[in-house]
């Protein structure tokens, strides 16, 4: 008799337990279902319609079904948006990402190595200063750099003018229109000055994270490697390429992949500094997606653009994950 009540209470408690597990997940699931997954499904439907401002009103009629017209329209710029070019945006987005991350990783590692030199003074002060770009909100970083690059009153041009006047150079030489000059500064290379302005700001923003990751990894490298190498007569440069770099790899590869995803989607910097300009020359996918909704108000095409963006990001994420995983079991 006690045995049966015990086993029935056990099954009852087991049932209770699995009910509780689902109850634990339920709140998160409900919110994500309503605010994430449902909008995504709705987005798929919207992307096949000509949803526009006319359909926004509460009692407005349903938009017309246009099949995959929006998807084709984005590829061949059928919506009459000036200077809109999907292929260019995608290519620039990838180029932007890789050109930035290369600088972040290289500079990050070099500074970490310099900071890790034994007997160096003021290490703590440098570390405290170098972390600042990470801890300041990127919104503020973006808006401040926007003003720094201002042609008339920006700090960069004023600093260049001050430096130039020491050598008697006409200040007008340094009236550089960082944000809105259309002609590329280097003939033959289709990159505007605004790209270089963004690059400078993003290098400022990006390397400290890589330095932090590299410093952590450097401190775990045993000094015996270097001592043995010194005894064998390896030079400092040889030690860097044969010991430091290979041993940094397991830490730097995931950090680089993370950096690639973040830079690929770096809305705050591009939108606030150049707004994608001039003539949409520095537009990336997320800024284009935002402006399709915010400025053009083409909700149908914007939905299709969102689908493209998600597909591209899923591919990019899978690629970076694969690279991370392939290098994660690197034995030290």
């Amino acid at each position: 008799m006690t045995a049966t009540t015990q086993s029935s209470s056990r099954t009852k408690s087991r049932l209770m337990r699995s009910v509780t597990i689902y109850l634990y997940i339920l709140p998160a699931l409900i919110i994500m279902a309503i605010m994430t997954y449902w909008p995504m499904l709705f987005n798929l439907w919207m992307s096949m319609t000509d949803y526009g401002i006319k359909n926004l009103r509460f009692d407005a009629p349903l938009p017309n079904w246009v099949d995959i017209q929006n998807y084709i329209g984005i590829l061949i710029n059928e919506f009459g948006i000036p200077n809109f070019d999907f292929a260019r945006v995608l290519f620039f987005n990838l180029f932007w990402t890789f050109s930035n991350v290369i600088f972040h990783v290289t500079i990050g590692i070099l500074i970490a190595v310099a900071l890790n030199v034994e007997g160096l003074w003021f290490k703590g002060i440098y570390r405290a200063i170098y972390v600042l770009p990470i801890v300041i909100p990127t919104l503020v970083v973006g808006t401040v750099w926007r003003n720094i690059f201002d042609a008339d009153y920006g700090a960069i041009n004023q600093a260049l003018m001050a430096a130039g006047s020491l050598f008697g150079i006409n200040p007008q030489t340094f009236h550089i229109r960082w944000i809105d000059q259309v002609d590329p500064p280097i003939p033959g290379i289709p990159l505007t000055l605004s790209y270089f302005a963004l690059l400078i700001a993003n290098i400022w923003l990006g390397w400290p994270f890589m330095t932090i990751v590299a410093t952590g990894a450097l401190q775990s490298i045993s000094k015996e490697f270097y001592e043995a190498a010194s005894i064998d007569g390896a030079s400092g440069v040889q030690q860097f390429f044969r010991i430091t770099l290979p041993l940094l790899r397991p830490a730097m590869v995931p950090a680089t992949m993370y950096g690639i995803i973040v830079t690929f989607n770096l809305f705050n910097l591009i939108y606030f500094i150049t707004g994608g300009g001039p003539l949409r020359q520095t537009e990336i996918l997320v800024t284009t997606a935002f402006r399709l909704v915010n400025e053009q108000r083409l909700y149908g095409p914007a939905a299709a653009f969102g689908v493209y963006t998600m597909i591209i990001l899923i591919i990019l994420t899978m690629l970076t994950n694969r690279v991370s995983r392939a290098t994660e079991s690197y034995d030290v």
Binding site: M32, F58, A289
Partner: protein, 319 residues
């Protein structure tokens, strides 16, 4: 007494001398030339890092009511805090004061970060500890969303939230045009990260603790509330803070959704004072605003820095 303890090493030179030789053999002493080159290099880098910050700081102190700076100087002549006072009263041409903007940002950031952590930790615990039907599918669904920027689904969010409208008396409520709507969208944006990050932390807590509690007769809920939650406090704090950080400066959703100035946030006002929109805003005001927006979160970030770096595991890397 204690000072003699500290000086103990000096009073026993026979003990100290061989040790000194030993450490000298292991650590290479940095030569003067190398030290100088590295110091110059690192100081220059520190200067480049500080340059934009010093520029903004010095501009914010500029008392002259000129719209734009024309020279570079660290402390402008007659430095004052007037710009900060002006910004407190009314940062943009919209009739809202800074405290109201800050309150909106704070309410959004605090409610979404705390909400996402509370909802997220329950789900994270279930995912971390139990195998149940649908676990794999749900986890993949959450991880996939983690990688997707919310801007990619801005159009459907805008349209769907805009459909929730009703009138109470004379007041028309539109969920899209309200802080609640923005907050709901933000919570769902924060949840995947909260679940993923908290699950990663809970995975490192040994199961033995809960097993012992279960044997002692604790219920499922008791184990979670009495054992897991206290142990997860650091991760909860870090996750909540990072959520707060993104909420405090959230821009895309609020800029797209909100139209009533009394609902505006700090980030919207700051952008309204920058670049193309800033025609009438003196840059001293912009700078004061930028500093006031950044300072609270930056100070907390710096204070929590150690916990954040160790509480976050990006691909298993601990800095």
């Amino acid at each position: 007494m204690s000072s003699s303890n500290v000086l103990g090493g000096v009073s026993a030179p026979t003990d100290g001398a061989p040790k000194y030789v030993e450490t000298k053999a292991v650590t290479k002493k940095l030569g003067w030339g190398k030290q100088l080159v590295l110091q110059l290099l690192l100081a220059f880098i520190a200067f480049t890092v500080l340059f934009p910050l010093l520029w903004v700081f010095s501009m914010s102190l500029d008392p002259r009511n000129i719209s734009r700076p024309t020279t570079l100087n660290l402390i402008p002549p007659g430095a004052s805090l007037q710009a900060y006072l002006d910004v407190m009263k009314q940062p943009t041409s919209n009739p809202v004061s800074l405290p109201i903007l800050a309150l909106n940002s704070f309410l959004l950031a605090a409610s979404t970060s705390i909400g996402s952590v509370i909802i997220g930790v329950f789900a994270a615990y279930a995912f971390s500890r139990f195998k149940f039907t649908g676990r794999q599918v749900l986890m993949v669904g959450i991880i996939t969303v983690l990688m997707l920027p919310q801007i990619a689904s801005l159009a459907p969010l805008f349209v769907l939230l805009n459909k929730v409208q009703f009138a109470i008396g004379d007041v028309n409520f539109n969920l899209r045009n309200s802080l609640i709507g923005v907050g709901l969208a933000m919570i769902s944006g924060l949840l995947p990260f909260a679940i993923w990050n908290l699950k990663g932390y809970l995975d490192t807590i040994p199961k033995e603790l809960e097993e012992a509690a279960l044997i002692d007769g604790a219920s499922f809920n008791q184990t979670f509330f009495r054992i897991i939650l206290p142990l997860a406090t650091p991760a909860l704090a870090v996750t909540a803070f990072l959520g707060f950080l993104s909420g405090w400066t959230e821009f895309a959703l609020s800029w797209q959704f909100l139209t009533n100035p009394e609902n505006f946030t700090l980030s919207m006002a700051l952008w309204g004072m920058t670049g193309q929109f800033s025609d009438n805003t003196p840059w001293s005001k912009f700078s004061a605003m930028a500093i006031l927006v950044a300072l609270p979160v930056t100070v907390v970030y710096l204070a929590l820095q150690k916990y954040i770096v160790s509480g976050l595991a990006i691909g298993g890397v601990k800095g």
